[in-house]
């Protein structure tokens, strides 16, 4: 029983990363109608950002946790202003090409500079060792990553449901034209939302650095699963995407435990089943956005 609970917790830790990434993807898609294929590359940049700050400037994990998302928000702003914005209203394929292209460029730039081998990143001293969770011991760092992820997801949820900004963003997501007609400048919110989504990916990257391999391909490996997560949760549904993130993490952990041979495809089986049963995802709206 303890073993089972431990494995469930494992899955939730994995899911924390899916959740954070899916959250960013979902807000971006909701507001802009753009599937950001560069999300994995931004996650990778987040991890590398932490690594570079530590090795070049001696800046520790805690500061990186703040600085890197800010830097990525700036990068996101640039990408939105000078790239994504120009393609609104065109076939979604153009934005797919743009963001996918950005992925390739970022990956190769990092490869050029740091090679393909993984870079070392130590755990912060305060989070070394294990912590007693009552039923079992668990590595402190992973508990921390889980807590940060849950905290952030809750904060974003509160922001969206309890504040005026959230109200505008939600309204703009649902009916951009109508919101505009009510006198809200929808376009003003597009850039900040995009930047925010990118910053979340960067934050997930910093969180991943101490426990995962930091290399140029880490995002590419991750993003496939995250797209499956977003499809399961329902494109554009913020709540659904986050929930699906944790659910997929859980499914993978239990899959690896009980049917290791099938663990790899379980996520995609779930995706296929969900698509057959509810084509717009578990929490997606019935109508698809153009």
């Amino acid at each position: 029983m303890t073993n089972f609970l431990q494995q469930c917790f494992n899955g939730l830790v994995s899911g924390s990363f899916y959740g954070l990434l899916a959250l960013g993807l979902a807000v971006i898609f909701g507001m802009l109608g753009v599937v950001n294929f560069a999300h994995g590359a931004f996650y990778m940049l987040g991890a590398f950002g932490a690594y570079v700050l530590l090795t070049e400037a001696g800046i520790n994990f805690w500061l990186a946790l703040v600085l890197v998302p800010v830097a990525l928000a700036l990068l996101g702003t640039l990408v939105e202003r000078f790239g994504v914005r120009w393609l609104t209203g065109l076939d979604p394929l153009y934005n797919f090409l743009l963001t996918f292209g950005i992925t390739l460029v970022l990956q190769d730039l990092v490869k050029r500079e740091y090679g393909v081998a993984s870079q070392p990143y130590p755990r912060p001293d305060a989070l070394k060792g294990t912590v007693d969770l009552g039923l079992f011991e668990y590595p402190t760092y992973q508990v921390f990553a889980f807590a940060v992820s849950v905290g952030l997801c809750l904060a974003v949820w509160l922001l969206l449901t309890r504040t005026r900004i959230g109200l505008i963003v939600r309204a703009a997501t649902e009916r951009p034209e109508l919101t505009g007609a009510l006198g809200v400048d929808v376009r003003r919110w597009v850039t900040p939302v995009f930047a925010f989504g990118v910053a979340l990916a960067g934050l997930a990257g910093v969180l991943a650095a101490p426990m995962r391999a930091v290399n140029p391909l880490m995002g590419a490996d991750m993003v496939i699963a995250v797209f499956a997560v977003v499809v399961i949760g329902g494109l554009g549904s913020i709540f659904g995407s986050v929930l699906a993130g944790y659910a997929v993490g859980l499914l993978q952990a239990l899959g690896q435990l009980y049917v290791p041979e099938l663990a790899q495809i379980l996520t995609f089986v779930l995706m296929a089943v969900v698509l057959l049963w509810r084509p717009s995802g578990l929490f997606g709206r019935e109508e698809a956005r153009a």
Binding site: N3, V13, V116, A117, S118, M211, A213, L217, Q256, Q264
Partner: protein, 411 residues
């Protein structure tokens, strides 16, 4: 009088070193030998082999020219290179291109087993030489062997035989093996199971893992909750997955819980990426180590000057294979494939990479000493890249799969 004696003695010595003139001159096609290096130059194997392997091959060409001077079978030696992107179809077509368009006499390196086997087929069809260095599959010298293909540095049998046997004999009888669920991982798992059982241990549980995978917690937790608890966790992961697994192995503190870590395939670059402390005490099999003795070190110093990094065993093996190919062409006095193959088969040699080296005529496995190595803790590391302690030299004759088990018939 004395002066003349010294001169004569010197001349004799020199001629002894040089090994006399080639048997026949002018038989080199196009009066040029072309060495083709086909490998991964931007993907996961780019650091452990990649462009620096091309540099190692260039070093071999320079050394060969310096050694033979005007007596070389040809002074006109070219190194060409291509990136196969770890895709077997690309590898196959690039190999054809290298042989046909670039006039390559031999192809070197080719990491990734599926690509390696694709190139072996091309070599067989074109009747051109092929030295595989960075791929692990024993198929190259097994059922899919051919007259023109040689397997140079290592293979799954050698890794499993070295590590599995040694770690089991050290007292870790009960193994838990995790392996990535694709050809290399499955091969390694089988080889390890065989080696462990032969040494009197057992593989209690073996689990395939998704590939690629960034969370191994499930398997690590499973290991610590097993009854009886395994003595050692054998991981067949490579590259980024290996780094993920080891980071998490340390986080869960399995070493303190009495579960040792044993790694199937590890390159110097892997230790470098996590730092030695993450792997400290891990036993593994290495084909070559740069700081093993003065001779290796001298090569590593030259390599460092040109590339800014220390050589992995793949780099050294590329150097050695290029050199041995050129030496064989020198002995044969030609670059005609069949003649070169003939002088290679059964040939015994010794160079900076291959100690006790021999090209087995029966299956074209190039055998040489292998090394059982242990990762040093950071406190014992005295200079950059100096991560390994060599525990034992595994003599060439024991290190590789016996000929009678290979199943190679050259048909």
């Amino acid at each position: 009088m004395r002066k003349t004696a010294v001169l004569v003695a010197g001349a004799l010595l020199l001629s002894g070193c040089v090994g006399g003139p080639p048997k026949a001159g002018g038989k080199v096609s196009g009066d040029k030998i072309v060495l083709g290096v086909l490998n991964d130059q931007s993907g996961i194997y780019a650091d452990l082999s990649g462009k620096n392997s091309v540099e190692a091959v260039r070093m071999a060409v320079e050394d060969f020219k310096a050694k033979y001077g005007a007596k070389a079978v040809t002074r006109n030696i070219e190194v060409v290179t291509a990136d196969h992107q770890n895709k077997s179809d690309v590898a196959g077509s690039k190999a054809q291109e290298l042989y046909d368009r670039n006039g390559a006499d031999v192809i070197l390196d080719v990491p990734q087993s599926a690509s390696a086997l694709a190139v072996a087929k091309v070599a067989k069809d074109k009747k051109k030489l092929y030295f595989n260095i960075t791929a692990a599959t024993t198929e190259l010298t097994g059922k899919q062997c051919n007259r023109y293909t040689f397997h140079y540095a290592y293979d799954t049998y050698m890794l499993a035989n070295g590590t599995g046997t040694a770690v089991t004999r050290q007292g870790a009888k009960n193994w838990y093996v995790v392996y990535p669920d694709y050809a290399f991982g499955q091969d390694m798992q089988k080889s390890f199971t065989t080696a462990v059982e032969k040494a009197g241990g057992k593989v209690g549980v073996k689990d395939p893992t998704p590939f690629p995978n960034d969370n191994f917690s499930t398997f690590l937790l499973k290991a610590q909750n097993m009854d009886p608890r395994p003595d050692v966790l054998g991981t067949m992961q490579a590259g980024g997955d290996l780094v993920n697994l080891v980071k998490q192995y340390n986080e869960f503190g399995l070493r303190d819980k009495g579960i040792k870590l044993s790694v199937g395939l590890m390159f110097l670059t892997d230790i470098h990426s996590l730092g030695p402390d993450a792997f400290a005490g891990t036993t593994f099999t290495d084909a070559w180590y740069w700081n093993f003795d003065a001779r290796n070190r001298e090569f590593a110093d030259r390599f460092l000057k040109r590339t800014d990094t220390r050589p992995t065993f793949a780099h050294a093996a590329n150097y050695s294979a290029a050199l041995q190919y050129l030496e064989a062409a020198q002995r044969a006095g030609t670059d005609a494939s069949d003649d070169v193959v003939k002088t290679l088969e059964g040939h015994s040699f010794e160079d900076v990479f291959a100690r006790g080296g021999k090209v087995r005529a029966e299956d074209h496995r190039v055998i040489h000493d292998a090394y059982l190595a242990e990762v040093k803790p950071k406190s014992a590391v005295t200079e950059a890249w100096d991560y390994e302690r060599i525990l034992r030299t595994i003599p060439a004759a024991e290190a590789f799969r016996p000929v009678n088990e290979s199943g190679c018939t050259f048909s």
